[in-house]
């Protein structure tokens, strides 16, 4: 039945509410990303190649870290045709068990990391599936996967994703004996792509990955030869622990949902049991503030009561969330990474204490390298990392960039045009680690500009900047002190000679005495004194000077 309207007469192909209802159906998330693949970093063929390698390497490093294995990664890129490539990515991680093999690679928004509050590179169960989707879209070829958990069998299978249903389709699954007890995953994809080696390239991505993950050994076998990124430490990073959410910044809607589904018998135990840093007395404080009885069943809390509870949670003083859910790079490793990569005069690294945005703990680290062989002209180079993953795209719309630009670098002895990057022989490394990184897109290329995040990055940079400033200042000071002595020493012979001409007294003793005074250094005035001030010509009308020439 067509809806009637006072003004517009419905015409033949107009739809009624019923027509529209008939067309409604659910869309699979795989279909959604198939159509929107630029959201995952596949907007063009050269970026697609980098994105695939990035997703593979991120997954491998996460898996190795979870299992406490020192990572050995091998990435192979082989050119098959003008715009056709084979990419193989292999790791020595724990592998995937047979029961989950299909889902782990063939179903989007499926994974182990989404819900846990614990730092990891991947999170949403999209990355490697996106790569497989891209391969099947551009070449129609299935992914070839090998994996073993180190048991007797190595599984080999081919996989496509059924996008309509967001389900894996496995073909040609075989097993082979595993004498070496190999464990890990190897993924082979055939894709359409364009290969570049400059700027935003696989090279640059792996170089920066090596800086952030110095315990990984990475071999890159590219179209133009082999590159090896050696391990510089055998110590694995501190293992991040899973935590409960912190009351600060948790959203009201989430709180209401938690209360609806919790197994806790009363609000007090709910608060203590499901949040970090809430002990008995904090819980009591919160409940008192919210005017709620401790014994109330969480599910019975009405919406306006939940609102009061939510406000109270933000008001009570609590210690910061536990830091062990985050695995920073650490100051030592940042410095070592920069030293390995860059020939500079000065290095400094700062790891900030963890902080919280919207209930999510995060930690910021900053490294600076200055002077030496770094390019003294032009803007400083910025290395952005999120959970140890280098970010190569969308620099201009990233919270890290914004923070770097907002810092007043002139205080630290560097030049800077207003609101821009600092200028000078400087590399700025910023690492943002969090249980949940707020990327601006699923392609994970830039961090959203939350004020709390920008503020913390700025604090870290300022801290590092102060170290840098004292280096720059002391370097300048010693240079100036020396220059000053040299200046007087240059003038003394002329002054002594002039005085000899004026008075007829021998210049030699005058010269000696003046030189002794320079060495003693006591008399030397550095600040411009009155003389200079009153002598500036500008104070006089310009013509006046002309009158007496």
């Amino acid at each position: 039945m067509a809806a009637k309207d006072g003004l517009g007469a419905p015409i033949s192909d107009n739809m009624t509410a019923e027509d529209i209802a008939l067309n409604m159906k659910e869309i699979s998330v795989a279909e959604f990303f198939e159509k929107n693949r630029h959201l995952l970093g596949y907007e063009n063929s050269s970026k697609a190649m980098l994105t695939i390698v990035k997703e593979g390497v991120d997954n491998s490093l996460d898996a190795c870290e979870d299992a406490g294995i020192l990572p050995e990664l091998k990435v192979t890129v082989k050119q098959l045709g003008i715009d056709r490539f084979r990419i193989i990515m292999e790791d020595n991680g724990p592998g995937v068990v047979e029961a989950k093999m299909a889902l782990a690679f063939g179903k989007m928004l499926f994974g182990s990391k989404f819900h846990r509050l614990k730092q990891s590179r991947g999170k949403q169960g999209l990355g490697i599936r996106g790569a497989i989707l891209y391969a099947q879209l551009t070449t129609g070829k299935p992914a070839k996967i090998r994996t073993s958990t180190g048991d007797a069998k190595v599984h080999e299978f081919e996989l496509l994703i059924d996008t309509v249903r967001n389900e894996p389709k496995i073909s040609a699954h075989t097993t082979a004996p595993n004498k070496e007890r190999w464990h890990g995953v190897s993924i082979e994809l055939e894709i359409e792509g364009v290969y570049v080696e400059r700027a935003q390239s696989i090279h640059e991505y792996l170089k920066r990955t090596a800086i952030a993950n110095p315990y990984a050994h990475i071999i890159y076998n590219g179209p133009n030869g082999v590159l090896k990124y050696e391990r510089t430490t055998n110590t694995m990073p501190k293992h991040p622990k899973e935590i409960k959410p912190h009351p600060y910044g948790i959203e009201l809607g989430i709180l209401i949902r938690m209360m609806a589904t919790t197994r806790s018998q009363n609000v007090r135990s709910f608060l203590m049991g499901e949040f970090s840093r809430v002990g008995g007395s904090s819980a009591d404080q919160i409940l008192a503030l919210a005017k709620l009885e401790a014994g109330r069943k969480p599910a019975s809390i009405a919406n306006d009561e939940a609102e009061r509870l939510h406000k109270s949670m933000q008001m009570v003083k609590l210690i910061a969330p536990p830091t062990d859910c985050i695995s920073p790079m650490t100051e030592t490793l940042i410095e070592n990474g920069l030293k390995k990569e860059l020939e500079a005069d000065f290095y400094v690294a700062i790891t900030r204490p963890p902080s919280v945005y919207r209930g999510n703990p995060f930690q910021v680290e900053v490294g600076l390298a200055y002077g030496g062989k770094l390019n003294p002209q032009g803007a400083a180079e910025l290395y952005r990392f999120a959970n140890k993953v280098p970010l190569l795209y969308h620099q201009s719309s990233c919270a890290i960039t914004k923070a770097v630009e907002e810092v007043d670098w002139k205080r630290y002895g560097l030049q800077q045009s207003s609101g821009g990057m600092p200028v000078g022989p400087l590399v700025v490394l910023v690492h943002f680690a969090s249980v949940w990184v707020p990327f601006t897109s699923e392609g994970k290329e830039a961090i959203a500009e939350y004020p709390e995040i920008i503020k913390d990055i700025k604090l870290a940079i300022q801290d590092a900047g102060r170290n840098l400033a004292s280096f720059v200042r002391s370097q300048r000071k010693s240079r100036e002190g020396q220059m000053r002595r040299q200046l007087f020493e240059r003038y003394i012979p002329v002054v002594a000679e002039s005085l000899e001409k004026l008075t007829g007294k021998d210049h030699a003793p005058i010269e000696m005495k003046l030189e002794a005074m320079v060495k003693a250094g006591k008399l030397i005035i550095v600040e411009p004194a009155e003389e200079t001030k009153t002598e500036t010509k500008k104070a006089e009308p310009a013509e006046d000077e002309g009158a007496d020439e």
Partner: protein
């Protein structure tokens, strides 16, 4: 004043410095300040003089060291000039003292603009004249009139030098006046106006001396005006552009300049009067079509001048204010807009007849 023994003064300056070195004190040279804050205007004598504020130039001061060195160099150079009885000029001095310091890329002086003010420093510090240091100033200015002088033994008649006139040297101390037949002196800022008056025989008709300063008056020119005016009781009329620069030229001829305030009694001519041009002339003589728009810098300059003690006469305050308000300048050449002989035959005769001068 200050006429005796310049050499002794220079030697004493050197000895004072050496005494400080021996006493392990920071060697210094004391120099009177020459900025507006230390200039005293004497309304009675109509002249500027320098106050007693001084500044100290220390050797062991990063900001002073080089100037200190340069000051000793210039002092030593002048002492040698006096001993050798040689005269020279500022440019020669600069070249003579310019050299590269040992084991460096640095020069004692890079530009003449560095050495010139040092000479003024020494003049002021030792209360001496540049000429006493055997340094000549800029040569600028020409003169014509019924005057005979003796210079280096030659008799020169300023009225018999054809179209050129007599070029005024930098030092006029040593010329003597043999005969002076004139009723007044007309000092003209611009050469072109001077030539017009010369061609029109203005100085013969009006029995006067005409002098062109060719811009800001050089020392020789100012001293010549002062000597003629003082020695022969001649009134002096100054004829400049109607703009702050022209008026400043007049004020320097009359009161002396700020940077040579200590020599006003030798270089200033307090009885000088200003004949024109003025902003009021623009209307009175119908020059509006030939004016030039004043620039921001002119306005700013005029406002500054309104504050100078020696421009406080109400007549001058009026002209300065008119310029600020109307934003119009007029050059001497504007008069030829009214006809080529307007200046010779109308403007100047009328002004002189009516004694229409500014103080």
């Amino acid at each position: 004043m200050a006429e005796r023994n310049p050499k002794e003064k220079l030697v004493k300056m050197g000895n004072d410095i050496i005494k400080e070195v021996d006493a392990k004190e920071n060697p210094k040279i004391e120099i009177p300040i020459r900025s507006l804050s230390n200039i005293i205007y004497n309304d009675k004598s109509k002249s500027l003089s320098i106050g007693d504020k001084t500044s100290k130039r220390f050797f062991f001061n990063v900001a002073h060291a080089k100037k200190f060195m340069q000051t000793t160099m210039v002092a030593a150079f002048c002492k040698e000039l006096i001993e050798g009885k040689i005269h020279t000029n500022l440019r020669d001095m600069f070249y003579n003292l310019k050299r590269t310091l040992k084991d460096s890329e640095e020069n004692t002086f890079d530009e003449q603009s560095e050495s010139d003010p040092i000479v003024v420093d020494i003049e002021v510090a030792l209360d001496m004249l540049r000429e006493q240091l055997h340094l000549g100033a800029d040569v600028r200015g020409r003169v014509v009139g019924n005057v005979s002088i003796v210079d280096r033994g030659d008799v020169v008649n300023w009225g018999k030098l054809g179209s050129g006139g007599w070029a005024i040297p930098s030092i006029v101390e040593e010329i003597t006046f043999k005969s002076v037949d004139a009723k007044f002196i007309l000092v003209i800022e611009k050469n072109a106006a001077f030539e017009r008056l010369h061609e029109d025989k203005f100085w013969q008709k009006h029995n006067c001396i005409i002098i062109t300063t060719q811009g800001q008056a050089a020392r020789g020119c100012r001293r010549l005006i002062q000597r003629l005016s003082a020695e022969f009781k001649l009134p002096v009329y100054v004829f400049c552009d109607s703009d702050p620069y022209g008026w400043y030229i007049y004020s320097v001829i009359k009161f002396g300049s700020m940077s040579l305030a200590h020599q006003s009694d030798r270089l200033g001519t307090p009885n000088a009067r200003y004949i024109g041009l003025t902003v009021s002339d623009i209307e009175e003589f119908g020059l509006d079509k030939f004016t030039i728009r004043a620039k921001d810098v002119d306005i700013k300059r005029a406002k500054d001048m309104m504050k100078y003690e020696w421009f406080q006469a109400p007549e001058w305050q009026k002209e300065l204010k008119l310029l600020v308000d109307k934003k119009k300048k007029a050059e001497l050449e504007a008069l030829s807009g009214r006809g080529l002989r307007f200046m010779t035959e109308e403007y100047l005769p009328k002004k002189i007849k009516n004694k229409d001068f500014l103080p």
